[in-house]
Assembly symmetry: C2
Homo-oligomer: 391 residues x 2
């Protein structure tokens, strides 16, 4: 196991009706003027925004608001949010939504007290100072509610890039599983896929002797395999939603990823798909992961065999571990299809003829110099072949 520091000071407030205590938590963490940041009209129509405003008013906390965050959140709205915060002397950003809203909120929080262009943080500069962020989560997926990370897409060139720093970790995150019950099945499934990706990206490690984190990751994946189909067939199942929601947070607060190298090749390869086609990140991952895993399996067959046996319940073929390894990847692929995720470029809305462009942006955007690295290092030929496997 490698040395590490684990610091996850976010206060998680979990359960039914917990959004009505938003004001109390903003106050506890020092906010006095709030920007409520959200996405489309559903937060308004469902009455969620009203409940939150009422909770803020009850604590005499002033607020302003900015809606309109889209999936794969854009830099344009971030600039707008930064201007608004400066104008209104906002000291606390309350994100009401999913990963996109939270990531946009983190970007605004970092940019609002920075003299330069906030995009600097998405070009490699670490976030050291930011306004406080809190969240009311409405979809279990991104894990952004407990992470120090944010991903934003820059309209110019459709560059999708990440920023990181403890300063943008949410001070609190309110997780009410009931708020996720109204999500369309496709979004629920994309969220499940994203959570499983966060686990697999940590599972694919080159660090040896990591039994404890292996077992935690496996436990969370087993949870998703049990609860995923339940929630797809019965969207109002609060208990299944609750188990998925806590698994989603634990999957990405890094308690199961510490002390080990991680992969993130699938995320990097997928980011170009959702940036170009504006598809759901989870849906892109559903197509990307089986291809990446099949292509990189030979790097460590026994790790994939372990996943197959411990996570997917495959019988170990001791004479031919690669058969077991493959069976595990196939089981994962079939699971993703079974919950309604796309299985190839066509179902995703991607085009084979774009592959050279995808590879070019992937390997030469954002200061990269012709490779991406993680579980294995991938060059132009590798990435081209991986995208072709998805066709």
């Amino acid at each position: 196991m490698n040395n590490f520091e684990f610091y996850s000071p976010t206060c998680f407030v979990f359960g039914k009706d917990t959004e009505t205590s938003a004001g109390e938590y903003v106050k506890r963490f020092g906010g006095s003027k709030v920007l409520i940041h959200y996405g489309g009209g559903s937060a308004v129509r469902s009455g969620l925004l009203d409940r939150i405003k009422e909770s803020l008013s009850k604590e005499s906390i002033a607020f302003t608001e900015l809606g309109g965050v889209k999936p794969n959140p854009r830099s344009g709205l971030v600039y707008e949010g930064i201007d608004l915060c400066k104008k209104e002397n906002v000291d606390f950003i309350l994100a009401v939504g999913g990963g996109s809203v939270i990531d946009s909120s983190k970007a605004i929080a970092a940019g609002a007290i920075y003299d330069g262009d906030f995009w600097d943080f998405y070009s490699g500069k670490r976030v050291e100072k930011a306004l406080s962020v809190g969240t009311v989560l409405t979809i279990a997926a991104a894990g952004s509610e407990g992470s120090p990370d944010s991903v934003i897409t820059k309209e110019e060139g459709m560059l999708k890039r990440g920023a990181s720093g403890d300063a943008i970790r949410p001070k609190f995150s309110i997780l009410n599983p009931a708020l996720t019950q109204t999500l369309p099945a496709y979004q629920t499934a994309a969220g499940i896929t994203d959570i499983m990706a966060h686990l697999y990206e940590r599972y694919l490690t080159n660090t040896e002797e990591v039994e404890v984190t292996d077992r935690l990751i496996e436990g969370l994946l087993l949870t998703m395999i049990h609860e995923g189909p339940r929630v797809i067939s019965d969207p109002d199942n609060y208990e299944a939603r609750a188990n998925i929601m806590w698994a989603g947070t634990m999957a990405h607060n890094n308690s199961c990823g510490v002390g080990r190298s991680q992969d993130w090749n699938s995320h990097n390869i997928e980011h170009e798909l959702s940036a170009l086609y504006d598809c759901a990140h989870g849906a892109g991952l559903a197509v990307t992961m089986p291809a990446v895993f099949s292509y990189t399996m030979s790097h460590n067959v026994m790790r994939f065999a372990q996943a197959a046996v411990r996570i997917w319940g495959c019988q170990m073929d001791f004479a031919h571990p690669e058969v077991t390894a493959k069976a595990g990847i196939e089981a994962f692929r079939n699971f993703l299809i079974s919950i309604g995720m796309p299985k190839n470029f066509e179902e995703l809305g991607a085009k084979e003829e774009d592959i050279p462009k995808l590879v070019d942006v992937l390997l030469h955007g954002n200061g990269r110099e012709g490779t991406i690295t993680g579980f294995v290092t991938l060059n132009e030929e590798d990435c081209t072949r991986i995208y072709k496997l998805m066709v």
Copy 2:
């Protein structure tokens, strides 16, 4: 799943040589005058205390020290520590040791800025304010390095009682697995047992639909089953020590216990044993748990069967689940014996004739009114029969 708040702001610093950054972390968390609190001479002889003092001096942090903490830490030394802190204007307690040292440090931290008797906190009053506490952990066991809890024994009546509050959660905990390599095998095994007890006490729940936390607990127990025997047969195995150490922290920071009722009957029943006989807490638990589990198994046979199958790899007897449930308890018992733990009163140094006294203090001490409650509620007859099962 029940509603819950999860807040674990402790910064964990994990790995080789990490104790040399103690000064840096005291500074980061605002300490300027430190009380170094420790146990016996081994911290001095091994040079650990010197390395820590050097690290504090490097950051120009003043310190004073108080050693002498014994297993099952006593109130006498706590009073001494409180006086010292007041006299020397200490603002930060650095615990260097295991659970006993950390618990003693938390008691001092709470008492040093409280006008009344610190024992109030061990008689039901919640700790709301305390000096900051940091830890350098030397044994993986108690989980006190990431918990808001402390257990102290009052000499008068040998009462062993707990206090709790976010204020006494360590600000940081330095976990260097190498520091645990010099522990005697018995102490290592007692630590392993304590960690497994923290997991089982959470596993035995009456809350339904808790797949995610079940799976996390199972994953951590599987880790202990894999790494425990390795470290007993090869005490210098850093990797096994590292996996156990992180499992120990995760077992007790409550991320795997949220949203569910918990048991803690075994801990309560054991506390009377270590209070009366001054045995190692883990050794007492090794004798207590199989008795408690056998006695309470019928309350929820399927939960014990699940543990047997998922944790101990037993074959499920679908026609007779109670057979599987029993097999799991027996597997646990044999595991504890295999790592060198006592199996009954005699090996522990306890006496059958003391049972009435044990039951009396257990059920009538500390304001209890004749029962203890958790997975099941236990009265005088129940507790008597459980202690008799240990003979």
